[in-house]
Symmetry: C3
Amino acid sequence: VDDRRIDDLEAYEEIRRLAADYAHGFDKRDLDLFLSVWGDDASWTTMPEGEPSVGRDAIRATCEATWQAVGDTHHWMANHSIRVDGDTATGTLDADCEVTDPDGTWFRVAATYADTYGREGGTWRITGRTTQIHHYLPMAGG
Amino acid sequence: VDDRRIDDLEAYEEIRRLAADYAHGFDKRDLDLFLSVWGDDASWTTMPEGEPSVGRDAIRATCEATWQAVGDTHHWMANHSIRVDGDTATGTLDADCEVTDPDGTWFRVAATYADTYGREGGTWRITGRTTQIHHYLPMAGG
Amino acid sequence: VDDRRIDDLEAYEEIRRLAADYAHGFDKRDLDLFLSVWGDDASWTTMPEGEPSVGRDAIRATCEATWQAVGDTHHWMANHSIRVDGDTATGTLDADCEVTDPDGTWFRVAATYADTYGREGGTWRITGRTTQIHHYLPMAGG
């Protein structure tokens, strides 16, 4: 019984680190770190009405295309509400973001992610992430 | 001995989720989720000099009145410093908020919450939350 | 075996609280709380090209000098990616900050900290923190 409780507690730690490493990998343009958070068949929907990118190759292509389309980005993740159930889990979390568009204007973006996670080969990964965008607000310093 | 240590670790997880679900419930106007974080006799003081709302009915009324008074809100919670001691706990955490007033102007609000938590019927709840407001700053995009 | 797993899980909790208390201590100008997060021989590098402040006395001096040089500050910490390995650990985390300069202008500062932690006398402390500053952006409300 205790082993299962410890398993679950370790799952929460790993899942929290996935959410952190997603932000570090994307914002610092560390492709290996960014790709390490995704499961083998993960699905990533970056825009609310968009098609998902499915699988590591598609996720890599989407990531690299986004990096080419925007300037500096910052994702400050908050409010990570996680529920672990055995070898899968769900999570909801909010992002407070700063993004520059190609002409250098800064925007603040408020977003929410709905996530699924799974344990694959003993390691927790993000198996699905869909993005909801609440607003873009231009910043004074843009 | 280990059971107690595992109990405490689970308490930290539950308490973190309460803080997240408070933000998700309030900002996404999910009343059931918002009310689920509060203990039966919880006290919520939303303004530094204000009277507390005590009990679930009063908290619901305050929540609904606030939703009517403001536009969109975002609470990004950070710096959650939790200390669990048996069946009660304390926490301090900061909120970086965006709030619209009725005419659509955006403000950034910096706030700090002082919390108490308790285990009621096996489930952790917020038993008290008092709010300190540091500042309101208008945003360029307002 | 389980004891070691529980030790590690407790380490994650303590390290998360150190990061929170760093922010609470610094922003609320609670010197005792701020100094409590540091190990005896800790090294704190506040500016990317700066010299580190080494040891509690030097850290106190740097903290007090910074408090004299700036107005209100807010550090909202996010994306805390922690890896515990026995009695030491590493962490990376981002800060979304608001800082006032002496004439009252508000800036938003995006920063990343690279941390080391250690267990000293049974208690986890920050043993090293180096700061990377991504940008300062003036705010509309300044």
